[in-house]
């Protein structure tokens, strides 16, 4: 088992290199802590939002009083006249207002009956405050989705609507930050192999009978261990900062695990294409930062132009964020996130295969 000998060596190199270890676990840890402190717990920002209910059905009323009112980040006040809300928005008393159009209740009801129907809500917001707008729109979107998915008895009037999720900002940002933490596996895993290449150690190993697949396996396995440790730390931290785990935590861990395999695979590809640690790191940050942004680690990508979203969904990370947000905040099951999971598995397989092929090519120049 040559790859096991290589794995043991690479793992020792990783955990004995204190500085690298600090970077590996410390960087995402600090990021997580800062995000948690900034947006978690009691300091959740609240946004004043006005609501005009033109639907006036029991469903729309429940939506306002049970769903929206329960969101800590929103401070809901009801209006009758849209002109009034617009005035308050202009005065700065409101950050946004929602007009629930006629038919909303019916649309939601159809969803409850298992018929997927588009739901329309009109949101008007103050676009001068981009960050707030972005968050408010995301939160309202997420709340609506979660509301529409809930199964209720058919006799709506007689039973109280129980809303399981109270979406806070940390619920929204948590999965994104975890994926971001995993993204930095790309530079870290690339660095390990390129470092050996730069110092000539890889050349020595290449004069031994180790096969390309054993190289890739030996190098990546040690980072799989690192990834598992990272995932556990991230999830525990996010939980401590108030992130709710509504769905199956195992399913979420599985999504994070496949995400980390994609990152390690991409790292292996980069290390086959570069010659020095500096080159590899530059290359990796160059791809992982835009990917983090494009995939929606920090904000929802729903407002992006559709061509950008198409690009985002070509990569695995937007899928990972969608799937983990769905599982963690809305409690969806494997069935609903299967497409996202297939994308992740596909990317993991393809990137590892490409890593092996590129490594074989670089072996005999």
């Amino acid at each position: 088992m040559r790859f096991l000998a290589l794995f043991t060596r690479n793992f020792k190199e990783t955990y004995r290199d204190l500085l690298a270890l600090v970077f590996l676990l410390g960087f995402p840890l600090i990021f997580m802590l800062l995000m948690g402190l900034a947006f978690g717990g009691e300091t959740t920002p609240t946004f004043p939002v006005g609501v005009v209910d033109q639907d006036k059905t029991p469903v729309s009323q429940a939506f306002v009083s049970e769903a929206l009112a329960e969101v800590k980040a929103l401070e809901i006040s009801s209006y009758d006249d849209p002109q009034e809300t617009l005035k308050d928005l202009k005065l700065g008393d409101l950050k946004a207002y929602i007009i629930i159009p006629q038919g909303f209740g019916n649309q939601v009801y159809q969803n409850w009956q298992g018929m997927a129907t588009n739901i329309t809500l009109n949101i008007t917001y103050d676009e001068s405050d981009i960050m707030v707008t972005e968050q408010v729109v995301s939160i309202i979107g997420a709340t609506t989705r979660s509301f529409a998915k809930i199964e209720v008895p058919i006799m709506l009037n007689s039973s109280p609507i129980h809303i399981e999720t109270k979406i806070t900002y940390i619920d929204f940002i948590g999965p994104g930050i975890i994926i971001f933490g995993l993204l930095i596996l790309i530079p870290n895993s690339a660095r390990a192999m390129v470092g050996d290449k730069e110092k000539g150690f890889l050349a020595r190993l290449q004069t031994t009978p180790v096969r390309p697949s054993e190289f890739i396996l030996g190098y990546s396995l040690s980072f799989v261990v690192v990834a598992i440790v990272q995932i556990i730390i991230f999830v525990v931290l996010a939980r401590l900062f108030g992130m709710d785990i509504v769905g199956s935590p195992w399913l979420a861990l599985l999504v994070f695990f496949f995400t980390s395999l994609c990152c390690i695979g991409i790292g292996m590809i980069v290390s086959s294409l570069t010659k020095t640690v500096n080159q590899a790191e530059g290359f990796c940050w160059f791809i992982s930062m835009p990917l983090a942004m494009l995939s929606g680690c920090w904000f929802s990508i729903e407002l992006m132009p559709s061509y950008l979203r198409s690009i985002a969904y070509a990569f695995p990370f937007a899928h990972a964020i969608d799937a983990s947000r769905g599982i963690l905040t809305r409690g969806v099951g494997l069935g609903e996130v299967s497409t996202d999971v297939y994308w992740l598995i596909g990317w993991a397989v393809v990137s590892f295969a490409a890593g092996i092929i590129l490594f074989r090519r670089s072996m005999a120049r």
Partner: protein
Amino acid sequence: MSRQDSNSLAVQTFKLTKHFNGLVAVAGIDLEIKKGELFSLLGPNGAGKTTTINMLCCLLKPTSGTAQVMGYDLGKEPFRIKELIGVAPQDIAISEHLNCWENLSLIGKIHGMGAADVSKKSRELLEIVGLLERAKDQVRKFSGGMKRRLSLIMALIHDPQILFLDEPSLGLDPQARRTVWEYIKSLKVKKTILLTTHYMEEADSLSDRIAIIDEGKIVALGTSEELKSRATEKQTMIILAENLNPGVIESLRSKYPVVEQRNEEVLISAKNLNFKEITDYLYSQDITIHSATLKQPTLEDVFIQITGKELRE
């Protein structure tokens, strides 16, 4: 070549050539290294020694030509070759955060050795190169010389049939160099060894045969004695004497093609120089001779004579 001949060869190259972006590094080398032979490639930096070795241990693909190592073709069966060879690269290639045992065990296990075997052989090798006492320390704390010694024995842990040693004593202090040389000598006959060096003493004292390599070509090949005897066609005598006068120098110049005078030293070069004839002549002129030596040719002289260049800049 008959079949028996090729069975006795460890390495055989056929017009082995390597270009890097149009630059010729190795220009069609034909070499035959016998089993059990210690063969040296001697040449200045950039002559193509490392490129040649890297092709033979399957790290680089030849641009054209090929080679056989223990009967296996480079391009066709590289992994069969890799099982049989041990390589100590010119760059010290060790794993910095591992200790000596772990470094040796990595290479041993890659070659399929059992734990007990690895540990027994490791102890033996660490003892020989004087690293046993520090064997449990992470090697990043080691001096350059210690690292190189470890790098050398990592090529030996799996008892390879052929050893490729690329500048094995580079950066070692004289004492460590002697230890390494002694050890390499003790391996002779048991193993086939190809070493590259730009130290002529190293090539001279260790090798069965030496190939002098320059600008990617083999410019001379033979035993150390054979190579030096080429240089002895032209001998040099160095005389240290008092009261040398211009008349004596003039008459020496009339007899020998090269006569140089630096203060009290005279240097005379010619084919078949007669030591006694010169000293007798100087005595007859009442010159007091302090010393007179016939300079022994070195591989450096051979190199200069063939290439017109110094081995070391």
